[in-house]
């Protein structure tokens, strides 16, 4: 590592990162140019870096490099046509989306992208989440069974299974998409007593779930804040040491 690289890693890099961190934290004082500069810089650097990564990791090895290695005569190779030429045509068609006049030609690769992605996501959700989680919700109420991960057994496991089952059923029952609301009545007025009870209990489960998720997000933010302040303190110590030393 050269001296310049060492200086960049030990001094300039942490100093720039510390300044950018302070510029972002200046939003506590309100919207100001320092925060905007940091935000614009972050967006620009992230976009530029993503573009470079796409070109280096995707376009070059998958589209350009095979053509350069095969040459013009190699373009007639059937394998190259299916693996390089057709994707290249789709890429060109997708680029036509940039022009309003030729945007319709870009609908074909866009439809292909969205269709394949939707099929993959929906298929994975059905086979990987819906069916396994439905089966997991219908657990046995046998008091002698033992939970495989947590080791729960007896009444503890039975209470846990009942809570999970009740929360699942009540939450699903609280979303009444198929019930018709009588004319002139509000949503709460059109419900019966048992429906109100289901809605109230389901609301408790939903509130606890969202509260846990919010608490987790808050904990993560606190960890990040503490890490940034720790980094700033380290940067201050490092720069001070470099100056004094």
């Amino acid at each position: 590592m050269t001296d310049m690289a060492a200086l960049l890693d030990s001094v300039l890099g942490p100093l720039a990162a510390a300044l950018l961190t302070l510029m972002v934290l200046s939003y506590l004082l309100g919207d100001n140019p320092l925060f905007r500069i940091a935000a614009y810089l972050f967006i620009g650097v992230a976009s530029g870096y993503a573009g470079v990564v796409m070109i280096r990791s995707v376009l070059w090895p998958g589209l350009i490099d095979p053509v350069l290695q095969a040459g013009v005569s190699g373009l007639l190779d059937p394998e190259l046509i299916t693996s390089v030429l057709l994707p290249g045509i789709l890429v060109v068609l997708l680029l036509l989306k940039l022009s309003p006049g030729s945007a319709r030609l870009g609908s074909l690769p866009l439809a292909l992208l969205l269709g394949v992605a939707a099929a993959v996501v929906v298929g994975g959700a059905i086979t990987g989440t819906l069916l396994p989680q439905t089966a997991a919700a219908v657990q046995t109420l046998d008091p002698t069974a033992v939970a495989p991960r947590t080791g729960e057994a007896g009444l503890e496991r039975l209470a846990n299974v009942i809570i999970v089952l009740a929360g699942t059923l009540l939450t699903l029952g609280s979303f009444r998409f198929t019930q018709r609301k009588p004319a002139g009545l509000s949503g709460a007025e059109s419900m019966g007593t048992w429906q109100r009870g289901v809605r109230t209990l389901a609301g408790l489960f939903i509130a606890v779930t969202f509260g846990v998720m919010f608490g987790g997000a808050l904990m993560a933010a606190i960890v990040v804040l503490a890490q940034r302040l720790q980094f700033l303190w380290g940067a201050v110590l490092g720069v001070t040491g470099q100056i004094l030393g």
């Binding site: 990791s57 997991a136 303190w233």
Partner: protein, 635 residues
């Protein structure tokens, strides 16, 4: 038909003329229907007094021609002469319009003059209830002919003499020659009538706009108008100035009057065309005359009022709207001074809360004082995870996916650090991968920093496969056939001969990997629950016995935990949150980043909890007051 004259009645002025006892020309031989027509014409009608011309004759400037009882006026003499000539020419048949002429003075009134004229039954014409007549042989007799009504036929079906109607041929008897000529000429409508739809003057019926019926030729030639009537028409057509009048152009206004007239109220000059080009009136008492003032300007064409109302009539609402409009206009014209700069309110509460939080996060780090004790309990999922990594095969690399953004690196790197250290302690080969463009960089940063302590470097202990494009599709494709996915790698090592490697699969540590199940384990470090779930869903069917471990942020734990605690778990190990990572570090006996963050994390979390409680107390008080007011209003 003019109002005030009943069917079958002879106007008063006509009866008076007849009563003057003028010699009557010998009646020419005529058919029966014409005799009936004459009888009807001789019915008693009270006309103007003896010796006085009718009012319409006076209006025409011929009042001097009447009045001397024994003397025959000149115009009447000309009428008689022409009548006699036409009677001789037609063999005694009277042309149309003759029965309407006044009889000579001194003639004896007919006995039937005192009787009202009964409705005339027209031979050869069908009559419907509505009084519409249909000529025999018409294509659709029995159906009313819409359009121009037959002149002289009233609504009741009675015939009114003198209306100038063409009665058509009688049902029996020879057709007069003049009538045949009229029919022949009437087959072709006059050009003046065929030019445009025409509303007859002084006719109220609005239905008189239909096409002309054959035989409705009311031109002066066809009707054989009297000479005096023709002279009147010719005088009106010439438009010569009348003697004794100022020399003004006909129908031309003087300049001063032109300036006073309302704009577009009327035309300043009237162009009167020659008589041949003027339309012939088709119906009404003026039927057969040319140069008749048209009714369209009076009836059909809307005009502007020559003078506006003296006062504007408006109600209160219109007045209010006008006032509002006036104010709006005034408001637009008013100069608005720039608003005074508002005094910026200093967000003291926000600054105070931020200062306290920053101090709570910074003070433990700056002072280095341990404030909070280490977590006494160990999460249930920690021991299975430690055991799982300890049991990982050393001859198979572990795939570690770094799927978090740089903004979450502070937490995710701290949480994943003890697990990566354990893997490096065991000497497991690590293959890094990321579905995010910045993930490869973060992976290289952490692996380089940690690997320095365990002799790991790129190609020696770990290899960075780089960026995996395609999202969920790329994950599925990778799970099915990792070698088919073009990954270019990141910071790849060089070959033993010093040449750079073009593909990460050329690194010797990945030599035995042909599919996803060939990895010793798959670890997904993710800050997003959706990304982690995508890995679980897409790689689950292809991993086989290879364990899947999730290292996630605290917020994603409730969403992903069901995959771990299910009866048939899809996830074999979980690691989430800084407390679990600290417990992991304590378990390994190596204080890592989690240990350095623990005090700051604990104090800041407590501060946040205090803030939430402080905010909850007044909110609860406001809710209690609201409920109390609501109950009070309900009572």
């Amino acid at each position: 038909m003019a109002e005030g004259v009943h069917p079958g009645e002879v106007p008063d002025w006509l009866a008076a003329i007849r009563a003057e006892g003028e010699p009557v020309a010998p009646p020419p031989p005529s058919s029966d229907w014409l005799s009936q027509l004459r009888e009807a014409d001789d019915s008693s009608q009270t006309g103007p007094p003896a010796g006085e011309p009718p009012s319409w004759v006076q209006g025409a400037g011929l009042a001097d021609a009447a009045g001397e009882g024994e003397q025959v006026p000149d115009w009447l003499a000309r009428v008689r002469e022409r009548q006699a000539e036409e009677a001789e020419a037609t063999g005694g048949e009277m042309p149309l319009g003759v029965p309407n002429l006044p009889e000579p003075a001194g003639s004896q009134p007919h006995e039937s003059d005192s009787r009202p004229l009964p409705p005339l039954e027209l031979p050869g014409l069908d009559e419907t209830d509505s009084g519409v007549f249909y000529p025999p042989g018409s294509p659709k007799a029995g159906h009313p002919v819409t359009g121009v009504r037959e002149p002289g036929v009233t609504d009741s079906g009675a015939f009114h003499p003198g209306s100038g109607v063409d009665l058509g041929a009688p049902a029996a008897g020879p057709t007069p020659s003049w009538l045949g000529q009229l029919e022949a000429e009437g087959a072709q409508p006059p050009p003046s009538l065929g030019a445009m739809p025409h509303i007859p003057a002084l006719v109220k019926d609005a239905d008189l706009t239909g096409p002309q019926l054959p035989g409705d030729d009311f031109s002066a030639e066809a009707l054989s108008l009297p000479e005096w009537l023709g002279q009147l028409g010719s005088e009106a057509a010439t438009g010569e100035p009348v003697e004794g009048r100022p020399d003004l152009a006909p129908a031309t206004l003087p300049a001063w009057l032109e300036a006073m007239r309302p704009v577009d109220a009327f035309r300043s000059s009237v162009e009167i065309g020659p008589e041949e080009e003027q339309a012939v009136e088709a119906a009404g008492p003026l039927a057969g005359l040319r140069g008749v003032l048209l009714a369209e300007p009076v009836v059909a064409i809307p005009r502007m009022a020559s003078s506006g109302p003296a006062h504007l009539e408006s109600n209160e609402r219109q007045y209010a709207q006008a006032e509002l409009m006036h104010r709006l206009v005034e408001e637009e014209q008013r100069e608005v001074s720039p608003p005074a700069p508002r005094s910026r309110r200093v967000p003291i509460v926000r600054w105070l809360a931020a200062g306290i939080l920053l101090a709570a996060a910074a003070l433990p780090t700056v002072l280095g004082v341990p404030v909070f004790p280490l977590p006494p309990t160990v999460p249930l999922e920690l021991d299975p995870l430690v055991n799982l990594i300890a049991a990982a095969p050393a001859n198979r690399p572990a795939l570690v996916v770094f799927d978090f953004e740089p903004g979450h690196a502070g937490e995710m790197q701290a949480v994943a650090e003890p697990m990566l250290e354990q893997m490096m302690q065991q000497g497991l080969a690590i293959a890094a991968l990321s579905t995010l463009p910045a993930g490869a960089l973060l992976a290289d940063q952490q692996l380089t920093a940690l690997g320095a302590n365990y002799g790991y470097s790129s190609g020696q202990g770990y290899v960075n496969l780089g960026y995996l494009p395609g999202g969920s599709t790329g994950i599925q494709l990778w799970s099915q056939d990792p070698l088919a996915v073009p990954v270019s790698g990141y910071a790849l090592p060089s070959a033993p001969d010093g040449t750079p490697l073009s593909s990460p699969w050329q690194v010797p540590m990945l030599a035995g990997v042909d599919e996803a199940a060939d990895f010793g384990m798959v670890v997904v470090i993710s800050s997003s629950a959706e990304t982690a779930r995508g890995w679980v869903e897409q790689t689950g069917p292809w991993l086989g016995a290879t364990p899947l471990v999730l290292v996630m942020t605290t917020g994603a734990d409730p969403v992903l935990r069901p995959y771990y605690e299910a009866q048939n778990p899809q996830v074999d190990g979980m690691l989430s949150g800084l407390p679990t990572a600290l417990s992991y570090s304590m378990r390994l006996g190596r204080p890592g980043s989690a240990f350095g963050l623990w005090n700051a994390f604990g104090l800041t979390a407590w501060t946040a909890v205090v803030f939430m409680l402080l905010g909850w107390v007044p909110a609860f008080g406001a809710w209690v007051n609201q409920q109390r007011k609501l109950r009070g209003s309900q009572r």
